[in-house]
Symmetry: C2
Subunit: 299 residues, 2 copies
């Protein structure tokens, strides 16, 4: 029940990882890739991870593909979907890998067709590296992939689920807005905070850049790893998932302010109570296997 | 020019790692360990990493040791120093591994002796795990160790420097207050923020603990790793390095508030400018080698 042909639009880390895994793991016969960048197309050809490539318009592949996965930054997904939906063949499936779902689905809605299954998706996987050379077939192993079908009874849902499972993922089916609320907490706000703190450190007049680099092993370097992810993608995420992001950020600032007050007033008990309660969730993450990096790579 | 005998007071992650490395790497003949916990002492004996152990008072070893390193939480270092300084032999060296230096030195000052070298230290190394079984000899490899001598011309400084270099560290000599300012940025505030965010996520009514665990690979799990460090130690750090911590936290909240405003008003340019500037510091950390974990362990 695998897809015979796959078009990947966007040849970055995620797109090129799907390309690397689709044939060997998911039984796809033909993989086409499109990207608006000539450099990316050239790299994909050199890597030999696609059976055909298109720079810019992907209409000739889009009209033939059984499955199309849009792997561009969230702010561009709806635009790409609007461009290719009219040429897609009846019975084919359109998906994506964007980190936000609600706003993208809203923007896609006017372009939907009854005879094409639109099942947005989000593999919770990645590394700090970007571009086609950063991809690898094992990226999705033991990672969750969330699918947020527009129609919960979409007949193509089991087939797309099987595709992601073949790529190594566990699949979760979720409501798009629920996805955005949960991911605001587990992903979007952590990234915003990491970007902020790294910026704060760079701007501190009292500490030099050399000192920050030298003594980064104290905890800071983990923030820099998170804050090294693709800036364009994250800008789009925060702007598209505004309400949920701001809600979590506000709660975070409240909590940080309470701990600040505890420090100012030497209230060690409040600090200790707070620090102790975070250990349980860490234990559960380790037990769940979600702490194992993919083959030694950070993500 | 190695120390002949070493007493380590406190048998946790850092103390037990020093014990494991001191003989094989730094030419120490005899390693004694003391800890107030009977369980820790029992574990150390079982591990066979010390030539002699003391539960509680370490006076009989302290009076013979050439080098004593205090490896207890920051809030207890001055107390331990006050207890053992009177029995230490002339010409011996007292050091520690605390994450803050200024407040500890102030508290130790009344107990100093002219004939004992007091050279506080701070190896910038660690993992999320605590206790004697978590230690390993390679913990300090390619990590900075900061020494903050009370007397910058202390004749024992080259010898202690050589000891830490033998353990695998690069040694930096710093003023204690400068150390605390820099580490507030690279270590203390990152830990406070990680503890805060993990607590915020646990408390969000809109997201269940199961969801947080399941989708933690999006960035959150890196915060849980940082926030799994020893709570007592971190309470002591924040309370002892209050001013520098609060200053960096305030700057961080200012910056986060500015990014919040940019999100609220869809100011993508401000977000992108901010996110792009953090990449340079990441590149420098990777180039410096400070991003390589110790033998696959997190720290």
């Amino acid at each position: 029940m695998s897809f015979d042909s796959l078009l990947i639009i966007g040849g970055g880390l995620i797109g090129s990882s799907i390309a690397r895994a689709a044939k060997s793991r998911a039984g796809v016969s033909t993989v086409w890739m499109a990207d608006k960048s000539a450099d990316v197309i050239e790299t994909i050809e050199r890597l030999g991870i696609a059976d055909g490539v298109a720079e810019g318009s992907a209409h000739h592949f889009a009209s033939k593909a059984d499955l199309i996965i849009v792997c561009v930054p969230p702010g561009k997904i709806a635009e790409v979907a609007a461009d290719i939906l009219p040429v897609m063949k009846a019975g084919s499936v359109l998906s994506d890998v964007g980190s936000i779902k609600g706003a993208v689905i809203t923007a896609m809605r006017p372009h939907l067709r009854d005879d094409v299954s639109v099942i947005p998706g989000h593999p919770i996987a990645g590394t700090e590296f970007s571009g086609p050379e950063a991809g690898f077939a094992e990226l999705f192993d033991h990672r969750w992939c969330v699918l947020t079908p527009i129609n919960p009874d979409d007949p193509a849902l089991p087939k797309l689920t099987a595709f992601w499972e073949a790529l190594g993922s566990d699949v979760a089916i979720m409501d798009p807005d629920r996805h955005d609320t949960v991911l605001a907490t587990t992903s979007h706000v952590p990234h915003l905070i990491a970007y902020t703190l790294v910026g704060t450190a760079v701007d501190m007049e009292t500490v030099t850049g050399d000192e920050v680099v030298k003594f980064s092993a104290g905890g800071f370097r983990d923030f820099t790893r998170i804050a090294a992810s693709d800036p364009v993608m994250w800008r789009d995420v925060f702007l598209s998932n505004r309400e949920a992001t701001l809600e979590v950020v506000d709660r975070f600032i409240e909590d940080l302010t309470a701990l600040k007050r505890a420090i100012r007033w030497s209230d060690g008990e409040t600090l200790l109570d707070h620090f102790a309660k975070t250990r349980d969730i860490r234990r559960r993450i380790v037990e769940s296997g979600q702490d194992e990096p993919n083959f030694g790579r950070d993500d």
